[in-house]
Assembly symmetry: D2
Homo-oligomer: 348 residues x 4
């Protein structure tokens, strides 16, 4: 009999939900026992309710589960929210009110002044706001969010630069089609093409980054003062957001210092040995033409961020590329790592 | 009998050469009468010597020409150079010495202090250096170059911004595979992938832009003082280089002023009515998700540059996208427009 | 003032409708004066009602037209139907009843026993059934259909083989994404992938081919007795359906005889000099690796079918590849050519 | 200390060699201790001699090996040949003469009358020819080959049909770019395109299939009498050859009988529990639009063949799709499975 902690996935039949189901298959701590979806699927087997669109077969252990309504009653304490933004606010709050810990991938609560926008490698101290959250909202449960898929790749890559004092950054993304869900981007739009627009993405990157890298005093957050300009593009790549970054740093480190910072970067999840944490969260690839989405995105189970081509920037100080797996580190894996951190810290 | 001016193409059987052949088919002023290639093809019909890789059929008028050696003897006065950089220097100089006007797409002479790096819409006055070139080198002919394919797209788009005082720009390119010639990029490298490296491309963009936008006093050039940082990427697109630009401007124009500058931008080629000049060299596309390579690159015969998504930049002043046809405006078409300008100004 | 014949397009704002608008721009005989669409677009300018998704700009002459309801009143005599199959039956019949000639690209009436499934190069005699159609249905107008986009490519390519007695054919298609309209195929389904299923496509190809190549006695049709097996696949190509064909022929022609039949193939549209008819409807490409969708589909304005790699088949007699433009020869261009034929024969 | 059997890879630095290195990492029986390559790489570390082009990192255990000449001296008994056809004949024979067992992926010896063209699921009895091979050639070693990458997918899929008496088959392939090695197919040729030609591929499929499915009497082979016609196309897919098949069967089985034959198909490698053998070598996918290369090719470690869309063929009896991993089941994995079979049967 399983000793694993039961968890639920809200919005389990959609694309993000499927990524949670895939990521949690064989998880050492958590076991999906609850799959929530919209009413029209309630009562069906997960395998019948779901058009499985991920490579490989649907995990057997979830296939036979019966789809439930997205209601707290009967749901496990920990629930992952993969719901559409259109419905997430109310349902997530209902779960939090009913005492559940909600790990949300939806954008709805990310910028709330009492909700952590958590990246365990960067701001595990932001969890200290949870007491204030529960008190202010009168919840016995709590909501913790993870960033937008492009934001997390950028912030992870900026992590090693933070000690040098990030002042300004100009970034351009080249984002995978899987970031848009299913059916998502029309093939007539993206085949042999680039679409230089992703709705609200630039605003999300710019705002979320400042919150993530900012400070938390237990009652609320102070934005990081860096200036950030993001330009977001969709490219015909299946998985993996690649970002071109130019960054200005206060302390003017040498190349060797930057490389050492990247290669030595480690953080709370690594110290705690969280099961989904990569051994090294940010990995420098020395080849002159890497990282590349198709070749590098699946490395480290999609949980590390890859940096390459560090070189002087004629306008700022350094420029480089970074890459991360948008549906793993940028969605399901991020939420699960958040839950692991909270478990390890006794917060669930 | 044709009244058109006979011209030659050096390196006519290669990919760039094929683009010249295609672009010059039905040209109102020029007629290809000479196709030069390496020795192993000399004496063959162009149709036999050439693996035609462009869409559509090889132009009949060139197909039957006999391939010549790349030697001045018997070549027409005007020659377009589509030669590999490995061999271009010596041959181009040999032609110039023998009295020919060489319009070169090769990188070899671009940064020479007495060779114009010409974009007719931007720096037609740079042709004034030719007298000094001829004198210093003892040539009866002359060499004029056009920029690298990504440089020209960027500089054309920056043209309307120049009056506002360009101080700094950070740009990221997403470049088409056709920019690498044939066989060029391996499909195993670029299918559903991005390759974040193009050899020497960033250096070329940074240097060439400063020369093009700089001044010429008839004896030499002074670089434009702007700071420029370029990050160059290859994306799985057939034709069209798309560039994300963030720019800092001295005079802090309003959005309306920038839009008016773009929409009113016109220059020498338009005033002279050069046959390959687009009616408007820089065209603003108001749709929120344009320009797009596959949908916009063939417009205006590939000779205009398309700008879109002008919006405030949180770090500098403005950010926008620009797109141009790399093998037309960025290569063959650029060289031909240079020749048209020189013809109209009595320089050939 | 224009002397051209006014025509209308029903379903003008959709993808197929846009292809009609593009194809008819600058048509020497026809001029679009009527654009019909669903109620929610009625009264708007075409340019406002339409998300133009084709390369290049929307034709100016149509952009300013006001969108009408799809009702016969006020519509020109000739109308092209680009409507969804879901609504086409009733509306097309209403137009025919009201005296209009409907050239339909919809599948709805194709297999009707009194409606021509017309390919002018193959079965112009099938128009003789129109008298019976009008009489039986009590219409003063008439309906003529063109085939499915993959069927027309196959049947055109089989045209030159018909005199040898086609007995059996096994074909596999590799079809472009544009055949599915917009948004059509999800990029998550087709990027770097093949989808080996297109709903109802195999059945359409098998049935329609037998009708097109069959006989017409003025009252109805007799199917061609050939056996045909089709396997239909979607590939990541923008335009152009490529078909691999193995065919068994009664009279066992030599390779030279087959090649001569292809190269000499000409038919009614060529004799009549119809403006959209290619000089040669079926063109043999001798290169060993052609036809290729991206390189050949735009040749001959997309109106010819390209055949290549004719070689002996170890199971039947001959195998070869054929390619045609699915949205031109396979849709808008087919319908327009049908109208041209009817005009030339005095049937409109 | 490892108890595994040492093995070598000839041509280890090339693409096929890299696939062997990847496939054999962590193999339970075999351990690579020898990497052979051309002279210019001899003496270097494998990691220095090799441009690693596969997703993920180079296996550590091989990275530090020193590259040897492709000479028998010092090489382990079992060697896998990933060499170019241009050099394979002589070197493979030199190894066999020197007592080695050569498992070759090269085409050179496949059609030799005393060399098994082995697919363990289909013709393990063909190994009985080895005694005759050794005797006739005076070798103390032996050569065993695996088929071309498209042939093996087809023959595996035909395996369950064999008992019904395969009479004729017409097949069309849609093959991945990885089948052409590196740099292989130029991106200018295949991006958003299909290339309907792969040199010698159709001939290989037609000949090899008849040998594989044919009989062996211990002295030589008798071809299977089936007629086979293959049309081979390259599509823009990274891994996985998809084949459309129409097949005529002598005993006219029902759909249920064919499905049962596929689902019950098992063979020697499964009975012997060979480590690389999939639990079921041929897997039927019931969804209407499968198998798909990108979604299915990595299942079962790339060692099974996937069949789908079984449906009646209007010309023959049945048509279906099949898919297999061209660089795994079609190359490295095939060779390794052959070695496992030989080991299990005491032939090495």
């Amino acid at each position: 009999m399983s000793e694993r902690i039961p968890v639920g996935v809200l919005g389990a039949t959609g694309m993000v939900g499927q990524h949670f189901v895939k990521f949690l298959a064989n998880h050492p701590w958590f076991e999906i026992t609850f799959v929530g979806a919209s009413e029209r699927n309630t009562g069906k087997k997960y395998s019948e309710a779901t058009s499985w669109r991920l490579p490989g077969a649907m995990p057997e252990t979830v296939a036979h589960l019966t789809v439930s309504e997205c209601k707290p009653k009967g749901a496990p304490h920990i629930v992952f929210s993969a719901m559409d933004a259109a419905v997430a606010t109310e349902i997530e709050q209902e779960f939090a009110k009913a005492g559940h810990t909600v790990l949300s991938n939806s954008r709805n609560h990310r910028m709330e002044p009492d909700v952590p926008l958590l990246v365990p490698e960067l701001n595990s101290d932001h969890l200290s706001v949870l007491a204030a959250q529960k008190k202010a909202r009168g919840w016995s449960g709590q909501i913790v969010t993870n960033p937008n898929c492009s934001t997390i790749v950028l912030t992870m890559a900026l992590g090693p630069f933070a000690p040098f004092g990030i002042q300004r950054a100009v970034v351009t993304t080249m984002q995978a089609i899987s970031g848009a869900g299913y059916p998502g981007v029309a093939s007539m739009d993206i085949t042999a093409n680039v679409v230089p627009y992703i709705g609200s993405e630039e605003e999300k990157m710019e705002m979320e980054t400042q919150k993530i890298l900012g400070a938390c005093d237990g009652r609320g957050f102070t934005n990081h003062p860096m200036q950030l300009s993001a330009s977001c593009n969709r490219v015909p790549v299946v998985d993996g957001h690649l970002i071109s970054v130019s960054v200005e740093l206060e302390s003017k480190p040498s190349e060797a210092e930057v490389r050492a910072a990247i290669e030595g970067f480690t953080a709370t999840p690594q110290k705690l040995g969280l099961p989904s944490a990569p051994a090294r969260p940010v990995i420098y690839l020395p080849q002159q033409d890497r990282p590349q989405p198709r070749r590098d995105v699946e490395r480290e189970n999609g949980m590390a961020v890859f940096v390459g081509r560090l070189r002087p920037c004629p306008v700022f100080d350094w420029k480089f590329l970074c890459l991360g797996h948008n549906t793993v580190r940028g969605a399901a894996g991020a939420s699960v790592l958040n839950a692991e951190l909270m478990k390890a810290q006794g917060l669930v």
